[in-house]
């Protein structure tokens, strides 16, 4: 909690700090790191109900495309909202269809969903297809730090919702659903509603992050926006940082992106070998993720 607040505070004041020549690079890297961390937080929210999604790359991509297409007509903030809502609405469909699937079956169904979505966006007449879609910068480029603060905003929102949920009564419903769905139902937990709600909040946040991403890269293509790599990253980060927590995905995302960037700059060719080895070592020696360094006992692990 304190750590989360601290990290968000740093994100907020980062542009004002005397960072010297590294400032612009750090801000750019940080912006992408915030977005991917927000995506990881969103994924973790859904995972709390026991659903392992491989569709978060698709929610991210849907949000990105929807926001990019809506932005010229609606302006930046409403367009981002549209992106989130489109992602959320698609998750409602996916969530309803996959209500009875668990574990790997659920994961593969969501993977199938994102592959189908990618093809649809590729073939749709209004998305720029395979060639790609140019995107306007946030606020028409009027504020140099506009995109950065949008990313901070999305991250803060994701972290805020994540914290709020782990303190609310819904926390118990989600944890119970994950740890024993049939029992949870018999205890009166409205499991279907809980799962769908988690799905929609999670996809909404992923869609928001996607929208801000689009306004930063200024260009979308189906292979990038719906990349399986991003879906996998959304799952790798929370495991690396610590599942079912707020600190875990947040810290995990920031550290993994920094680590990857640093390794790329330091080692260059072959840096991903080191990256892979670090992931393996983390699992072998910190099975509960980075957060276990902070909470010695499994606190917050309900």
């Amino acid at each position: 909690m304190i750590l989360v607040g601290l990290l968000l505070l740093v994100a907020l004041v980062l542009p004002g700090l005397p960072l010297g020549e590294w400032r612009a690079f750090l801000l750019d890297t940080a912006q992408f790191a915030f977005l991917i961390s927000a995506l990881a937080l969103a994924w973790d929210l859904l995972a709390r109900t026991g659903q392992l999604s491989l569709a978060h790359g698709a929610f991210f991509g849907l949000g990105a495309y929807a926001a990019a297409l809506a932005a010229p007509a609606l302006g930046t903030l409403p367009a981002l909202l549209v992106g989130g809502v489109v992602a959320g609405a698609s998750s409602l469909f996916l969530g309803l269809a996959t209500l009875r699937l668990h574990g790997m079956y659920f994961a593969i169904a969501t993977l199938a969903f994102s592959e189908v979505m990618r093809t649809l966006v590729l073939k749709a007449p209004f998305t720029g297809g395979a060639i790609g879609l140019p995107v306007q910068p946030a606020f028409g480029g009027a504020f140099p730090l506009g995109g950065y603060y949008l990313a901070v905003g999305v991250l803060a929102l994701a972290a805020g919702i994540s914290l709020l949920l782990s303190r609310s009564r819904l926390h118990y419903a989600m944890a119970a659903t994950r740890q024993g769905e049939a029992v949870a139902r018999v205890l009166g937990v409205p499991v279907i509603r809980v799962k769908l709600l988690a799905f929609m909040i999670s996809a909404f946040l992923a869609g928001l992050a996607g929208g801000v991403y689009a306004m930063k890269t200024l260009f979308l293509s189906p292979y990038d926006a719906f990349g399986l790599g991003r879906a996998v990253e959304a799952l790798v980060i929370p495991i690396f940082g610590g599942l079912y927590t707020t600190t875990g995905p947040l810290l995990g995302g920031l550290i993994i992106v920094s680590l990857e960037t640093w390794l790329r700059l330091r080692i260059g060719e072959g840096y991903l070998v080191v990256y892979g080895v670090i992931l393996v070592l983390t699992i072998l020696f910190l099975p509960r993720g980075l957060v276990s360094l902070f909470h010695r006992k499994g606190a917050g692990h309900a």
Binding site: Y172, A176, L187
Partner: protein
Amino acid sequence: MLSVQGLCKRFGGVTAANEVSLQVAPGEILAVIGPNGAGKSTLLNLLSGLLRPDEGRIEFLGQEITHAPPEVRTWKGLGRAFQIVQPFPEMSVWENLLVGALYGKPSTPRKVAERVVAEVIELTGLAPKAQTPAGELTLLEDKRLELARALCTQPRLLLLDEVMAGLRPSEALEAVALVRRIRDSGVTVLFIEHLMPVVRALADRVVVMDYGRVIAEGPYDAVAANPKVREAYLGRAQ
């Protein structure tokens, strides 16, 4: 209180529940017994909504709940404890109970739920273990937790699925006393049981099932003397 009429459930070629009809009166303790595979657990799953019946009708407190989802039945006051204990392993005992107390009735305020948990945890003797992760409990404690969690949903009728199985005689005795206390607090009880001494000690009335059908019904002694029942048990044993 609970009225079941002509309930049928088939799995492929097997009929696990065949025209089952029974009534539960308020305040009584009803036992459902029968040999292995008689369809007792199927009946309980049909009653608590984990399975959907192919035919038949279930009424609870005068309302039809035949196709209501499990959580809705719980909200109406139909509680259930499982045979194979399934605590939420990553939660403490207290949190396990809180799930039942928070969601057993719709929009129970947190404060009220905490009070319910506090009462139930005393009643079931789990208070010393409140903060223990549920994954670390002994079998007896697990069984108590299972029962306590169901109680936290504040049921009017409690369905118990072989909650005594695997307990030592002394422990079973304790459990029998606990179920009596529960009934005395105003909860009707329907339980499935294998241990005949427990059935005799607890049940006001007994329903016997075999091959998915109800074959006998009545007070323990009358049922135990029924030739059909003897045949069902002995025939199976040979």
